[in-house]
């Protein structure tokens, strides 16, 4: 008698079903690539097939993908990477000497002088050394140990790895992880996947999305009832909100983490994207060490950076790293094991990271062009940040905080009650309904605020500020017109 008959299971029943699969996976949501994006892709297909629409293209302002929106890659970076991919190009005198030198150095650190060889799981040693030197320079000389640097497949990979390491326990003892509302949904997705407890702390929209330690304390104390809070995640500059934390705020957070015995995870991938007057990026590590040994030798922390944002925008390379501070050596040993299961991060991404932390110097041939391109990208973003804030604030029913940094705007929208009701009828969250309507009518793809978390009864959307300035102006205008129409329709 077959096993199936013995079990009385219908012979065509699947072995793997939604009932017996990992229950955590079912809870995972990732709004940035969620249903609205799927619809956007479908619409693009329809446009290609000649279906008539009120627009000729879909503007995907949902994801922080600079190159997709027309930002040009930095010449120097691509030259070195091309030389690494096909070293025969070293003979080509169209490539500058400093590019060739960098490429040679990277290739010499690779097995068989090829970026196709596996690297050490922690990342190529000389790249980690260069990252450490970059951090030291950035942080005014505070030492950085290459052994505490772990290269990764984008920052997301390192973030998930750290969370995997930190999450444990059962029931009331289950690890609780503090994350801001609103937040970048990688965090909520990862926490759902790991079966960790998400502890939400609200950023203050009225105070330009600033972080208040009193709110951290409130959230933590409430959470202690049902879980074991061990981790505090902070994104600075913020995503989706764009706020750049003040130095004082960072100190307060560090003090809080020490008092409450929390592991700090500082997501700093937008560290070069700071625009507003009076705002400055302060690395958590720098502030920690400047607070003296009482803090710098005790607070456990991991900071994350990536090649996907800033002026490079090289999302497709999946380059990134994390630096761990004050990690228990036994835990470090476990971390090394965990990263070794994936074998190694993509080597082209490691090579790219090396260039980002070791860019052309003033005395090198590529310096002028490099600085010109870098400055142009960051200046354009600053201009677009300002433009976005100005235009949105002219629209009745849209309030937009200044975009101090990062690549997004997260304006608050007022929705008429009738629209909220209509959304409910359709089984949709109100801001999803709003964004879907915008997509269908104007071909603009945004992500509803519900994907990031927001205070009950408030609605937002996240839009990137990446489209080229002229196009952005058109997008802003279309959203303004749509909002007015929408409000009118449901008045």
């Amino acid at each position: 008698m077959s096993q199936q008959a013995v079990n009385g299971v219908p012979s065509r029943g699947k072995v793997l079903t939604v009932d017996n699969m990992n229950p955590n996976v079912k809870r995972v949501e990732y709004a940035v690539r969620g249903p609205i994006v799927q619809r956007a892709v479908q619409i693009e297909k329809e446009l290609r097939e000649g279906v008539k629409k009120p627009f000729t293209e879909v503007i995907k302002a949902n994801i922080g993908d600079a190159h997709a929106m027309g930002q040009k890659p930095i010449t120097f970076l691509r030259q070195v990477l091309a030389l690494c991919a096909y070293p025969e190009l070293m003979e080509d005198n169209k490539f500058p000497e400093d590019a060739k030198k960098r490429a040679q150095r990277i290739l010499d650190a690779c097995g068989g002088h090829s970026i196709g060889a596996y690297s050490a799981s922690q990342g190529i040693e000389c790249v980690r050394q260069d990252v450490a030197r970059y951090i030291e320079k950035r942080d005014g000389g505070i030492p950085s140990n290459p052994d505490s640097i772990y290269l990764s497949t984008g920052a997301s990979d390192a973030i998930v790895t750290m969370l995997k390491l930190l999450v444990c326990g059962e029931g009331h003892d289950r690890t609780g992880v503090m994350i801001s509302i609103p937040q970048y949904p990688l965090y909520s997705a990862a926490l759902a996947d790991l079966g960790a407890v998400q502890i939400s702390y609200y950023l203050d929209e009225d105070k330009c999305w600033s972080l208040d330690v009193a709110e951290l304390r409130r959230a933590l104390n409430a959470a202690r009832q049902h879980c074991n809070p061990r981790v505090l995640c902070i994104i600075n500059p913020g995503n989706p909100t764009g706020q750049v934390q003040s130095r004082q705020c960072i100190e307060d957070v560090i003090k809080f983490a020490k008092e409450e015995h929390l592991f700090l995870m500082a997501d700093e991938v937008y560290q070069d994207n700071v625009y507003a007057e009076g705002c400055k990026f302060h690395s958590f590590k720098k502030v920690l060490f400047e607070m003296g040994p009482e803090y710098s030798s005790t607070v456990e922390m991991a900071s994350f950076h990536s090649t996907s944002k800033c002026y490079m925008g090289e999302c497709g390379f999946r380059g990134g790293y994390m630096e761990v501070i004050n990690m228990d050596p036994e835990v470090k040993a476990q971390l090394i094991k965990l990263v070794s299961v994936r074998l190694c991060p993509p080597v082209p991404g490691q090579a790219l990271l090396d260039l980002v932390v070791n860019p052309p110097q003033p005395d090198e041939p590529s310096y002028t062009t490099f600085m010109k391109e870098r400055t142009a990208v960051l200046a354009a973003l600053a201009e677009k940040a300002k433009l976005t804030e100005e235009i949105f604030n002219t629209v009745p029913g849209i309030t937009c905080n200044p975009v101090q940094g990062a690549m997004y705007t997260f304006p608050r929208i007022t929705l008429p009650q009738k629209a909220i009701d209509k959304a409910k009828e359709q089984g949709q969250v109100p801001d999803m309904y709003y964004c879907m309507r915008l997509l269908e009518e104007e071909g603009i793809c945004l992500v509803p605020g519900s994907g990031f978390g927001q205070r009950e009864g408030t609605f937002h959307f996240r839009m990137t500020i990446l489209p080229p300035t002229e196009k952005l102006k058109v997008v802003l205008q279309k959203i303004r017109d749509f909002h007015l129409r929408f409000t009118q329709e449901f008045s």
């Binding site: 068989g112 999946r318 074998l343 993509p346």
Partner: protein, 460 residues
């Protein structure tokens, strides 16, 4: 939840020996044949692949006519598939759809016309990532009691074992029959399944074909038996086929599990749930550092498949260059293309080298006293059995090492050759092996012969 297995201790000890900088060594160079990492041991990347990738990274290269026409055309096509025409973009969908179509066309061709559907394929960041993050993560309920079990071949390569235990599942070994060339016996699958009673709840059967470290290439008959077993016992089939390009020996060919399953017809062909893995790391490309691969799903519950694709979108995409490398793997230059002659020459060279190495390694190893090496039918490794003298085993115990680790440490210290000890691979209790990969140079066998002869004498 990560336990430190003896295997980990073994490789740490080996690595520590290699890190002994400043200590005078009797050898001039380190010959690391632990992994299958062709470029690191001197196998050249394929020119066509690197030319296309370079042109994609730095499109200015396409302006000159120094690159062959087919290179430029392919690079142009690939860049046209990227948002913003740049390899630096994320892409709206985590896997470039046109490349998935090419993969689907590839598997259809490879499998003699068995249809392949793009919606059942996704691109992964290397096969190990896919196995652990994308598939096992969905299969394994870490809160389940008893634990989820996965039947795994013994011997088996260490990363898959680690993936399984890291997720809170239990690996249930089924032993391949060494004396018969590492064949897979269904009776042994049965025994393994029964041994799991009361210990864990087996839900999946993991097979590696061509094998690693064992160099078997399964016969169609054997594969049919596995499929029938999976069907009867309601097991989810995971087929790791990354070495499919490496098949040696006269009467051996690689047939994919998907093909065998389809050819068996109903009820198997439309009920057995199968996931197959392939990668750009192995084969002739050997692009391990790119971290590219693909996964093909057959007969999965549509609701489950939806969750898998949702997870993939969350991990924000395989590197774009890796996706392009995948396209080049499944759609290489054809006769008549300008790059074909060189491409063919380079792949033939690798093929010939491997075939030659398989032959000489078999002869040399089997001529050594106390060494028996099964014929290597496929894959990238040779896994000879070493019958260690009792004195050596004792010495190893004294030094706190597994006997084959001790052997490998000594081998490294005296010759600079770094092999993996069999104790890392879940070998049968009381047996000892070493593993090294077949993309080696002639020095290796010479060193090994000299060392082994001396070792056996010293411990006789």
């Amino acid at each position: 939840n990560l336990t430190c297995s003896s295997a980990q201790i073994a490789s740490t000890q080996l690595r520590e020996v290699t890190d002994m900088s400043g200590v005078r060594k009797p050898y001039k160079e380190l010959i690391d044949v632990c992994w299958c990492d062709p470029h690191s041991v001197g196998v050249k990347p394929l020119t066509f692949v690197r030319q296309v990738l370079a042109a994609c990274v730095y499109p200015q290269l396409m302006k000159s006519h120094e690159l062959p026409l087919d290179v430029r055309q392919r690079a142009q096509w690939l860049l046209g598939r990227c948002d913003g025409g740049s390899v630096g973009s994320y892409n709206a969908q985590p896997c470039i759809p046109e490349i998935i179509e090419k993969v689907s066309e590839f598997t259809t061709r490879r499998d003699g016309g068995v249809p392949s559907y793009p919606e059942n394929i996704f691109i992964s960041t290397g096969s190990q990532w896919a196995i652990m993050v994308d598939i096992l993560n969905v299969l394994v309920n870490s809160e389940a009691s008893p634990k989820t079990g996965v039947l795994t071949p013994a011997p088996c390569h260490v990363t898959s074992m680690m993936s399984i235990t890291a997720l809170g599942a239990a690996a249930v070994p089924y032993y391949l029959t060494e004396e018969q060339g590492w064949t897979l016996q269904v009776e042994e699958l049965q025994r393994a399944l029964e041994s799991a009673k009361g210990v864990c709840n087996p839900v999946a059967l993991y097979v590696i074909n061509p094998g690693n470290p064992a160099g078997l290439v399964q016969s169609r008959k054997s594969m049919q038996e596995v499929i029938r077993f999976a069907s009867e016992k309601r097991l989810f089939l995971l087929a790791d086929e990354v070495y499919q390009d490496f098949v040696y020996g006269e009467n051996r060919e690689f047939v994919s599990y998907k093909r065998v399953l389809a050819e068996m017809g109903p009820p198997y062909s439309d009920t057995v749930e199968l996931v197959s893995f392939h990668s750009t790391s192995k084969g002739f490309m050997g692009e391990c550092g790119m971290r590219g691969g693909y996964v093909e799903l057959v007969n999965l519950d549509p609701a489950v498949q939806k969750h898998i694709f949702k997870l993939i979108s969350k991990s924000s995409c395989t590197p774009v260059l890796a996706q392009m490398a995948l396209d080049l793997m499944v759609n290489p230059p054809q006769p008549g293309d300008p790059s074909y002659p060189l491409y063919n020459q380079q792949t033939q060279h690798i093929k010939n080298m491997l075939a030659q190495n398989v032959k000489t390694t078999h002869e040399v190893l089997n001529s050594l006293p106390g060494v028996i090496s099964q014929p290597v039918e496929g894959g990238a490794f040779v896994f000879p059995r070493v019958f260690l003298p009792p004195k050596a085993i004792q010495k190893a115990e004294e030094e706190g090492m597994q006997p084959d680790t001790f052997y490998c440490v000594r081998l490294l210290e005296e010759t600079g050759v770094l092999c993996c000890p069999g104790s890392e691979f879940e070998q049968k209790e009381g047996t000892y092996h070493i593993r090294y990969n077949l993309t080696y140079t002639s020095h290796l066998l010479r060193h090994l012969t000299t060392f082994h002869t001396k070792f056996m004498k010293d411990f006789s």
